[in-house]
């Protein structure tokens, strides 16, 4: 596969260069010991291709001949005014430009519809809350505070993890992908545990002075980080707040 690609790249070189050095370059490629070396040679062939078309040897030959005429070490200048590229060079250059343009367009279309997942080191922003605490203390929190957390959070992980956080009746609830909606119990700070669970919890991390937040969901020992995506419509504010 790599060899075929290398042959294609050589094929696009100017005829004069290819007929002279193509076979030798291929013999060097065949002598490459590893795939890493072959990939490096492919990259080199791309640069060589660009170099050969950017400054064809006809230019350089003329410049070299002009350089021979310099006198007393003074710099020799050469003008390309009378140079006319051959029709085959123009066709090959146009084809190459069209191929590059198509490749760039296809790449931009592909990345538009396929977000690139960049794995990042997990950073523990908040200490794991003490989940063994009793759930008897299950306070209601003012809705104007809770509504800041409500919204849809999405992870860039290929699994397509999505968590929907809702604020209802002074408490938060979360529904993650493929799992039922579960009410959250406030533990401390901005950490909440899943009602009735001693292992599952969530916490919010603020990346500026204001919402939205980053959500960290830990279920059965697996933690996923999700970024705020969309705010849910906040319910009507409560007039009176009850605490247990």
């Amino acid at each position: 596969m790599l060899r075929r690609l290398y042959c294609v790249l050589l094929r696009f070189h100017p005829v004069r260069f290819r007929s002279r050095f193509g076979e030798e370059m291929l013999s060097i490629f065949d002598a490459a010991a590893s795939d890493a070396n072959r990939v490096a040679l492919l990259a080199d062939a791309v640069f060589s291709l660009l170099r050969q078309w950017a400054v064809p040897s006809e230019y350089r030959q003329g410049a070299a001949e002009a350089a021979l005429w310099s006198v007393d070490g003074s710099p020799a200048f050469y003008t390309f005014g009378d140079y006319k590229p051959s029709p085959s060079s123009l066709i090959a250059g146009t084809t190459l430009a069209a191929i590059v343009l198509c490749a760039v367009w296809l790449a931009s279309q592909y990345t538009w519809t396929h977000p690139v997942f960049v794995p990042m080191a997990t950073v523990q922003f908040e200490p794991k809350p003490n989940l063994g605490e009793s759930e008897s203390l299950d306070p209601r929190i003012p809705m104007n505070i809770l509504s800041q957390y409500a919204g849809t959070y999405a992870s860039s992980h290929p699994s397509g993890f999505i968590a929907t956080v809702t604020a209802e009746d002074g408490r938060l609830a979360v529904q993650t992908t493929g799992k039922p909606k579960t009410r959250l119990v406030w533990v401390n700070g901005i950490a909440f545990k899943f009602l009735g669970s001693k292992t599952d919890w969530v916490t919010f991390v603020r990346y500026s002075q204001h919402p939205p937040y980053i959500l960290i969901v830990c279920q059965a020992g697996n933690c996923v980080t999700a970024h705020f995506e969309k705010k849910l419509r906040a319910p009507a504010p409560e007039k009176k707040v009850h605490f247990h």
Binding site: E24, S27, A45
Partner: protein, 117 residues
């Protein structure tokens, strides 16, 4: 002749390495790459694209001669190259030029002597 030689100078690093690698014996492209790597202590690695681009220029400027295939070589696709008389003279002129540059640089690097009051 000397005036003509100055038109080729200064040589690019790749051209200098290629000419100096061919100074000892006739070599094919892959052997030139290996020789350049060896003589630079692994610091200068010539890629095939750069090598053949420079070889093309050097052949066109008649500093290097193309010998063609050598009977008995493992790979019949390899072509051998030889440093021409003009190439040898240009290499010698470039070495003279570099020696002057080095001498000048060494002189300037020496600590300045204190002036008498």
């Amino acid at each position: 002749m000397k005036e003509n030689l100055s038109a080729f100078l200064p040589l690019s690093p790749a051209a200098l390495h290629i000419l100096s690698s061919l100074a000892g014996e006739d070599l094919h492209g892959y052997a030139i790459m290996q020789q350049v790597r060896r003589q630079s202590g692994g610091q200068y690695k010539l890629s095939p694209g750069t090598l053949y681009d420079n070889l093309q220029k050097l052949v066109e400027r008649r500093l290097v001669q193309e010998l063609g295939h050598k009977p008995g070589d493992d790979d019949p696709r390899r072509r051998y190259y030889r440093l021409s008389t003009l190439g040898r003279a240009v290499l010698a002129a470039e070495m003279d030029r570099l020696e002057k540059v080095l001498r000048e640089a060494r002189l300037r690097l020496q600590p300045a002597k204190p002036r008498r009051a």
